[in-house]
Symmetry: C2
Subunit: 199 residues, 2 copies
């Protein structure tokens, strides 16, 4: 009998806009005014659909974590049966795959870890899950022990993060190319993957 609820659409709309503002203006720069403008809605609708700023942040962070999990799951699912590591690196450093906005959101949240309760734990999980996925993939083609896998996974994650963070500056893409080859060098130090070092 009532007017149909638009909460779901509005909510998605607002969270998307918040992500964009986060990427562009950073944590403190992502004001409700800007979010509302970006979403094409009146500011009061943020309050109506989600709540105050803290609640918006909480909602965004949980959604961000879910989406990140889905993204890495998709990345893993997209790998072939053989040559997984080779393909993983191609995907990670594929200029088309690189998501500058997602990276900007990640580093904005990371930098704001001390400004919002719970953010620290969320980002810790975020990073841990990604690294675990990388280590898992590496383990499928190498007999290295867990320690070695963690080391190389840390290297891959760092190279990937750095490329995305610098994407706005790396106009020529040389950093991207160099990082990709560095990634190959690194994985080639693992037993079973030596061949990737000499392409």
């Amino acid at each position: 009998m009532p007017r149909p609820s638009l909460k779901a659409e509005r909510r998605a709309q607002i969270l998307t806009a918040f992500g964009r503002c986060l990427a562009r203006y950073g944590f403190e720069g992502a004001s409700l005014e800007r979010v509302a403008e970006e979403a094409g809605l009146a500011r009061a609708l943020i309050r109506h659909n989600i709540g105050n700023r803290d609640q918006l942040i909480d909602a965004f962070v949980t959604e961000f974590l879910e989406r990140s999990r889905a993204d890495t799951a998709a990345l893993v699912a997209g790998l072939p049966k053989t040559g997984r590591v080779k393909r993983l690196i191609e995907d990670l450093f594929d200029p088309d795959y690189i998501d500058a906005e997602g990276a900007a959101i990640g580093s904005a949240l990371l930098a704001a870890v001390d400004l919002h309760p719970g953010l620290s734990a969320a980002m810790l999980a975020w990073n841990g899950e990604f690294m675990a996925a990388l280590a898992q993939i590496l383990s499928s083609e190498s007999t290295a022990d867990a320690q070695a896998l963690r080391e190389v996974a840390a290297g891959l994650a760092a190279l990937y993060a750095n490329v995305e963070a610098m994407a706005a500056i790396d106009r020529q893409g040389t950093l991207r190319a160099d990082s990709q080859r560095a990634a190959l060098r690194l994985v080639a130090t693992l037993p079973g993957l030596e061949a990737l070092g000499r392409p």
Copy 2:
């Protein structure tokens, strides 16, 4: 005959405070009010000694570049005559050397590249100079070509940047330790440095 000028001290005071705010609150969060409070000065004194916000940012950025250059110069100068690369990695990943605030400033500026004219060029130079210094050090103990040196330098820079960015989260220091060993793996792929891979 006039009253003695305090511009130099005040200026340094203000730039230091701005750096702290930048690290804590990000680019948009580093308001003049906060900077003034952090510096223990009235806001009007920022205007008196440096100027408006844009001028403050410009002043900070040039000072930041100078200090970064001095820091890397000191890093290079502190290396021994032999075993330079080994020592470089020990220094880069030394928990005591790690400067969380400096890293936070760097990523805050990097994230704000589109928000302030000239910032993009400054951060490009910042990154380029650091990578060049790394490549230079590597070249002193390896016969690898410039391309290979760039690749490994990119890897080292990425690992270092990632460790500093995650420092706030990496309570146990496991990421730091893993990253350090990944760095050793990486440099050991260069001719002349193979020994560093097996410590």
